[in-house]
Symmetry: C2
Subunit: 371 residues, 2 copies
């Protein structure tokens, strides 16, 4: 880690990959199906994205790993030449697919698209991520739902740790980093045990999983606080599938470096606009003749070129350009918020920045959804 904040556990770091250095804290746009929805790679670069995600489960099902292998990997297939992080597919297998059988080797399941029987475990997940050629691979894990009784959390964690060890043993492309995933639900001792055991396996980074799976807000921070202190200081920490702007800042203050979330892109397509003061619904009547930008002072393409009245019109008229512009703005807001967080960690003043941001941010009721 480059710099540690004086007042909080926040850190500014640099994560080296073969496709470039990622400056953390960082927000990673989600490219589930080999595309960040609505956006080209060039546009992602323009708004400052350093790294994007791909979802192994979705890509396995469509277009299929064989197509991506023949294309020369995911970067060649989708035209994004910066770093890519892939998940292991575990989260989607447990949340989207119809499960058949679970064993130490992995999970037999049925595709949610065509019902085909498939198998995914540590071996298959690592092979899939090798084929995708991602720069950061994730260990195969089980993400327990919330609420989750202690007995289930315990058994699930056994499996996750066993799978982590197996993933660690698989061969992978020379350039590929591998992150382990801390689970353990809301149980502090399980979280600590997971963090310690994974640390001993010496991964390149550590995710804190099972956050934002439906639990009340105060438990979210709690799960991070139970995990982060037991992870090695010199390695990046990633909270998967989170969150709102204030949630990310609070987790940065607790020592987290990396985030991904579909929230900014998903709600963009319903017309929800993220700003430093909170969100608003651009389709509301009050913006009908509002010729200001989506967010005053924002330098994204949508704000530089178009007005609220125009974007509102496009959304009501079901025009794709409307979805592009709201997506562009929201991603820009997220990516730049974390860039500013980094700047204040490096230059000093992060804690004040965080407090002021959170104080001025009007929470609304969007659901914090994950892929």
């Amino acid at each position: 880690m480059e710099v540690h904040d004086a007042a909080t556990a926040a850190r500014a770091g640099r994560l080296h990959t073969s496709r470039g250095v990622i400056e953390t804290p960082v927000f990673m746009p989600v490219g589930t199906q080999a595309t960040v929805k609505c956006m080209t790679p060039a546009e992602l670069r323009e708004l400052g994205a350093q790294i994007i995600l791909g979802n192994t489960y979705h890509l396995m099902l469509r277009p299929g790993l064989e197509v991506i292998r023949k294309a020369g990997g995911l970067h060649k297939f989708n035209g994004w030449d910066g770093p890519i992080l892939t998940d292991s597919g575990g989260y989607q297998v447990f949340s989207l697919a119809k499960l058949r059988k679970i064993s130490a080797d992995g999970v037999e399941f049925q595709s949610h698209i065509d019902g085909a029987t498939l198998f995914l475990g540590p071996r298959e997940a690592m092979a899939a991520q090798a084929t995708l050629g991602s720069d950061i691979a994730m260990a195969f894990d089980e993400c327990p739902p919330w609420p989750c009784d202690r007995e289930y959390a315990c058994r699930s964690l056994e499996l996750t740790l066993e799978w982590a060890a197996r993933c660690r043993e698989q061969s992978r492309p020379g350039h590929q980093l591998l992150f382990g995933i801390v689970q353990g639900s809301v149980y502090a001792d399980l979280r600590e045990r997971a963090a310690r055991e994974l640390s001993a396996m010496d991964f390149d980074g550590y995710a804190i999983g099972g956050v934002s799976v439906g639990e009340p807000r105060h438990l979210m921070s709690g799960q991070v606080e139970m995990s982060a202190p037991h992870l090695p200081v010199g390695k990046p920490r990633y909270v998967m599938g989170v969150g709102t702007p204030p949630q990310m800042l609070e987790m940065i203050a607790r020592g987290v470096d990396m985030f991904d979330c579909v929230l900014p892109t998903r709600v963009a397509r319903n017309g929800t606009i993220f700003t430093a003061r909170g969100t608003y619904a651009i389709k509301n009547a009050q913006y009908r003749e509002d010729f200001g930008p989506l967010e005053e002072g924002c330098e994204c393409y949508a704000c530089r070129q178009f007005t609220r009245a125009y974007v509102r019109h496009l959304l009501w008229a079901n025009e794709i350009l409307g979805l592009r512009l709201t997506t562009w703005h929201n991603l820009h807001m997220y990516v730049n918020l974390l860039r500013r967080a980094r700047q204040t960690i490096v230059a000093g003043g992060f804690d004040e920045f965080r407090r002021e941001f959170v104080a001025h941010y009007q929470e609304r009721t969007e659901k914090n959804e994950t892929v």
Copy 2:
């Protein structure tokens, strides 16, 4: 007109507007609801678009003329600073709305969106286009359907000529050109009469309307041949809502300069790709592992950056980027086909270019639809 082709009636010209010179023959992308579907103004520039369309009827209904007036006109509203041509709304009133009453003053109708009672005639259509601030306005006309008996065509033409004269009398913004529209269905004497009477009214250009309204293909060229020779040589001629690439080249050979059509953008969204050899369906299984561009040799953004396999995947996965890329390619193909037609008219060899293009173009069965 700058250059007349030796072997055909084709011409290369330059149409001066206050927002720039349009080199003809030209294809004009259609921006029905204040956006060319999927595209930003910058992208339209990049692919070579010189002028775009706006549809008065659609814009009247949504967002409403008052919003666009307050925005400072259609250019300010949608961010396209090149020339815009607007239609009069007549075509949509007769084809989309529920008609109430027709008189010499215009048409009372009900909005197809919310059923509101509205009125559009020569006076209102010109006032609307003045508010939009388009660079080229179209006279208010009735476009008769096909088939159309002679008596109806005759009565309809009377109304269209009366309305043309009334449009000519309306005041309009100093920079705005006004085109008259030749109707007369498939009747040669009516078409000739319309062309002569409109010519006598001295418009800035002339559209040939009522083409591609469901009539057999051989009648399409016929309607152009009945009209074009009776129009002044020094003014641009515009066939509205047409057509396929071979149809445009055939009409250029008959003296037409300007075209608009939703075909390339509409079928793009179903995965139909236009090439110099005809169209194909990118969603077909044969392109699953095809890592060539959408069209070999094409220099559009989609073809430079992405493969058929990737675009096919995006469309099957219902990803918006897929619609963007197919739209981009098809518009590039249309705009550049007419640019090449112009080059061959200027340099010589248009007739050979046209014959070879048409001979190699595989017709398929897409419907040639209009807005």
